[in-house]
Structure formats: structure tokens, C-alpha cells
């Protein structure tokens, strides 16, 4: 927008500054109280290292599963008109607003010992999800999947069909069109969606602790480990791990910035 720079009304400027302060002060506080000198030692602690490794493994799995399940769903929602599509589109976004703890409870009722799919899963595939690492992955996927669906669906819906038409006139069957034209052109949005899903999975607490429990080495991801450390009174350790999560979140958002976050 060009033209002489308009001065915002004083009240608006004040409120904006207040809002920014509200959001940034806690982060600043965290950075200020951080034990920078002993950070290395805290993070080298075996408990911390286990939590870091577990978090990385679970979140990457969750991101991968989110992509694997989210892309086809996004495609269908974007391109295939079916009765009830709008409803499904809305329901898929529920994990975005649902309190994570509630999500965890819902997962227990679906996959738990006395849940809907728990018994058959255990009987037929010997798969137990609650209070296992796999359960942590499921909980993280539950909250991360909508990020992939939202960004991918927007990308597929907004895709320039003219290129797909051109590809078809050159003899490309639908699968080829998808693989060689639609997906490559949607790549920025898909990468953004995957990155956001990963960051969300990494930071998931409520659903994980409810569904997978808080067992060190098995389901104690970084957020859960932070909670454990706080409960045990080990503030420095909790802050150190919190810093890691903060750093990751900031890094992801800064890397994606304006261009890539437009899909949201």
C-alpha cells in the first residue's frame, strides 16, 4: 500500500502494543530466567536426552502419518463433491479447537481397553495403544493431522486447473497429473502444512498424557518431561527443556513466515 503513512489512532497503537507485550512477555521471561550457563549440562542429562530423542521420534512419525492420511483426505475434500462434504470438512478440524485432554479421553474411549476398537485391535493384531509409545504417536497425530488437511486442501482447491488441463491434453492420466503437476505445484503449501503438523505434534501435551500416560523413556515426550521436572521441583531442567520447545516453535514459524503461512 503506497501513499503517505497514516498515523494510527493513539488508542489503537496502545492496544496493539499491549497485545504484543502480552504475547511476548512470557517468552521473554522464559529467555531471561533461563540458566544459560548450565544449559548444556541440563540438556546432556540422560533423562533430558531420552525425552528429546523420544519427542523427535514420535513427532516425526506423527508428521509422516499426518501427511500419509491427510493428503488423500485433503484431495477428496477439495476435488470430490460428495453429500455431507461440508460437514466432514468441519469435523476434520475439530482437533484444532478441542481441548487436547478431551482429545486424549476420546482416544481412550476409541482405542482403550474397554473402548470401541481397543479389544479387536488387541485380539486380532496384538496392538495395544494406550500408555505405549505408539499411543503417544497416535495422540500427536490426532492433533497434528488437521494442519496438513487445512493447508493441503486449500492448496488443492486453489490449484491452477489450467496446468492440469494442459497436462491432460498432453496425454497424462489423472495419476500422472497428480504426481507430476498438482503435487509439485502445491509443494510450498504442503511443506508448510507438514512443518506445522510436526511442530504441533512436538508440543502436544494434553492428549499424550491422557492417552499415552507419562512414563519416562516410553511416552514422556518433551512437554510431558517439562511437567515432570516442574512437579519434581527441578526448575532449571524444566526451563532448559522448555527453551528447546520454544526454539523449535520460533524456528518453524520464522522459516515459514508470510509466504508459506498464507494457506492458514
Amino acid at each position: 500500500m503506497s501513499g503517505p503513512r497514516a498515523r494510527p489512532p493513539a488508542l489503537v497503537a496502545l492496544a496493539a502494543a499491549g497485545a504484543a507485550a502480552f504475547l511476548l512477555l512470557p517468552l521473554a521471561g522464559l529467555a531471561w530466567r533461563a540458566p544459560w550457563s548450565s544449559l548444556g549440562a541440563e540438556l546432556a542429562d540422560p533423562g533430558a536426552r531420552t525425552a528429546l530423542r523420544l519427542s523427535l521420534v514420535c513427532s516425526l512419525w506423527a508428521a509422516a502419518l499426518s501427511l500419509a492420511a491427510g493428503l488423500p483426505l485433503a484431495w477428496v475434500l477439495a476435488r470430490v463433491p460428495f453429500p455431507g462434504r461440508r460437514l466432514v470438512r468441519a469435523l476434520v478440524l475439530v482437533p484444532l479447537v478441542l481441548p487436547p485432554v478431551v482429545g486424549g479421553v476420546a482416544l481412550l474411549l476409541a482405542f482403550g481397553r474397554r473402548g470401541l476398537l481397543g479389544p479387536p485391535l488387541e485380539a486380532w493384531f496384538s496392538v495395544r495403544l494406550p500408555f505405549t509409545t505408539a499411543g503417544a504417536v497416535v495422540a500427536e497425530t490426532f492433533v497434528a493431522l488437521p494442519f496438513v488437511v487445512v493447508t493441503a486442501e486449500a492448496a488443492f482447491r486453489g490449484a491452477d486447473r489450467r496446468y492440469e488441463e494442459a497436462a491432460r491434453t498432453l496425454g497424462a492420466r489423472p495419476g500422472v497429473v497428480l504426481r507430476r503437476v498438482t503435487l509439485p505445484l502445491a509443494r510450498p503449501a504442503l511443506v508448510a502444512g507438514a512443518a506445522l503438523a510436526w511442530a504441533r505434534a512436538l508440543g502436544e501435551f494434553g492428549a499424550t498424557i491422557t492417552f499415552a500416560g507419562n512414563a519416562p523413556g516410553r511416552t514422556s515426550t518433551l512437554p510431558l518431561e517439562v511437567y515432570l521436572e516442574l512437579e519434581a521441583g527441578r526448575l532449571r531442567s524444566a526451563i532448559a527443556l522448555s527453551l528447546v520447545l520454544l526454539a523449535v516453535s520460533v524456528a518453524v514459524l520464522v522459516a515459514l513466515r508470510d509466504r508459506w503461512l498464507r494457506a492458514l
Binding site: Y163, A166, A167, T169, L170, G171, A172, L185
Partner: protein
Amino acid sequence: MAAPAGLVADAEVRLGSLHLRAALRVAAGETVAVVGPNGAGKTTLLRALAGLQPLADGRVCLDGVVLEAHGRPAVAVEERPVATVFQDLRLFPHLSALDNVAFGLRARGARRGPARAEAGRWLARLGLAEDAAARPGQLSGGQAQRVALARALATRPALLLLDEPLAALDATTRAATRTVLRQHLAGHGGAAVVVAHDPVDAGALADRVVVLEAGAVVQEGTLAELTGQPRSRYVADLVGVNLLAGEGDGEGRVAVGGLALAVADHRPGPVLASFPPRAVALSLERPRGTARNVWPAVVDGIDRAGHRCRVRARGPVTVVAEVTEAAVADLGLAEGSAVWVAVKATEVTVTPA
């Protein structure tokens, strides 16, 4: 009996307020130009032939194979041996020029190596060997147009569709690209349909011209036939043009037939000279005026439309003059009348052939 080669189409399409009903016959090796005002249905017709627009009725047959007929499932776009060069080109922005050209080959099953080699050969044929690795965004308008053409030709289609291939180019690039297009259309074994705005483009690229107005074919024939006997105001004003192919001597003369046409252009080599019928004056005696091109001719036919007449004059070259009915009466012109044709050199537009 061998399958009839070429395109046989009787297309009826309803799109919004447009009701298109057109019959099109293009033999293998022939190029037909489709001209018409905006909204006439030219692009819709092309899209229907490509399979991108379903027919409301009628049928499309190519080389004896029914691609689409009312009541039968249509052959899918990707299964038709039809290649389209879109007006907006639609080169894939994420692929290099080489990969763009190779796309059609790989989509039909060719392996990457052989496909890229073949694509390279096509780019070389179109003078783009050095730009093979460039992305579409880095190419000039003329280069991009040629890449789009190569991409379509590489699939060796039985029917080639070109939607206003010269529209987005500046004058110089247009002429150069038209020359390239002419060569490749002449060498193309299948049928070709070109949508054009400019009658000179239509005359230069195609053997026959079909005029579409408001969804219906108003007239078809060679450019000379359209110029001599226009059946609508649009044809008369925008399509009718005298088009002569000749050789420029670089000194302001173009050798056409047995005539040395004086022109205001000093370009040497094969050229197309064009001038509208209204630039042609007829007189009973040899005129002595500023018109540099004067030659004797015999009236071959007079076509009356309202108060204007199209008089065809046969001489060293045959041209069409547009004169008023009153003038024809005044000079007593009729078939067989001896006249002198005068065309001002400045009225003749010369472009490279």
C-alpha cells in the same frame, strides 16, 4: 477400405449464452484457420475438439475413430491423439523447457532418457537448443511460444490445435514466430486447426479459413474467396484482405507473379504483401498519379453487398477492389471490362513470409 484420415466434426456446444453449431472438415496435412469476433465460439470449438468441453450434440471423428458422439461415452482428453497449444501457453513453471517438451512423451510411457533426447531434438528444430535448461519464467514471449509448440508437436498428434498462437507477441516476434509456425504446420502430417485474429496470419498459416460468428459458421473458403465474396460485414471488414506471397529485392520492390510491386518496405527475401480491398482503385484509363502500382487487368467478377461492391480483377496478379456501387455504375464495369488497377505503395503491408 482405409479409414478416412483427418478430422470430421459436427459440434454442438452450449456454454452460457453461447450456442455453438459448427461443422468442420480438416484433411490430414491440411491446416484450417478459424476466425471470428470475440465471443464467437472459436476457443469453445477448440476445447470441444480437445475433449475439454463436452458436446451437447453432434460428433467428433478423427482418422476414422469416433472421439465423441452424443449418447456414447466420450474418449477422455488424455486418450485423444490431440495436442493443444493454449493461448496462455501453460508451460509448467516447475519444469525446464526440455522437461516441458518431454512431458507428453513421458506421460505416454517413454523413459526419461529417450524422452529428453527426443525433446532436445524438437527444441533444436525450433531453434531453442540453448534454452533447454531455462525455466518458462526466463524465456521471452517468442521463445515460450516455440516451447509450447514443441511440446505439442513432440507427441506427434493426429490433430494439432492452436489457440491464437501469435496474439501475445510483439510485431517483430510475431512475424518470426509465424514463419516458424508456417514451416512446422507445412511439415505436420496430421490435421491442424488454428484460431487467428489477423487475416494475414490466417492466410499465411492455413489452406482454408472458416469464419465463426455468434456460434455459427458464416463462411468458409480460401482467403481469396472470402475477400472476393464476403458474406458478412465482419468478413468484409476484418477478414477480407489481398494477400500475395513474393520475394523482396531489398530496394522497395516485391516480385509477385509477373509483377514488381512497389512497397514502402525495403526488406529482402521471401515476404507476404497484404493490402485491403479498399486500398485498390480502378480506372478505365491508365492513371497518372501517386500510386506506384498500376497494371492492366480484366474484371473477373463483381460481388454486390449493399452499396459496396467487391470487384475481382485478374491481371499479372488477381486482386479484389472494394468500390462503391455508384462507381461501378459510373464506369460501367461488368465482367470482362478492361480496367487499370492502382494500389498505393504505402497501403501495402510487408511482413516476412
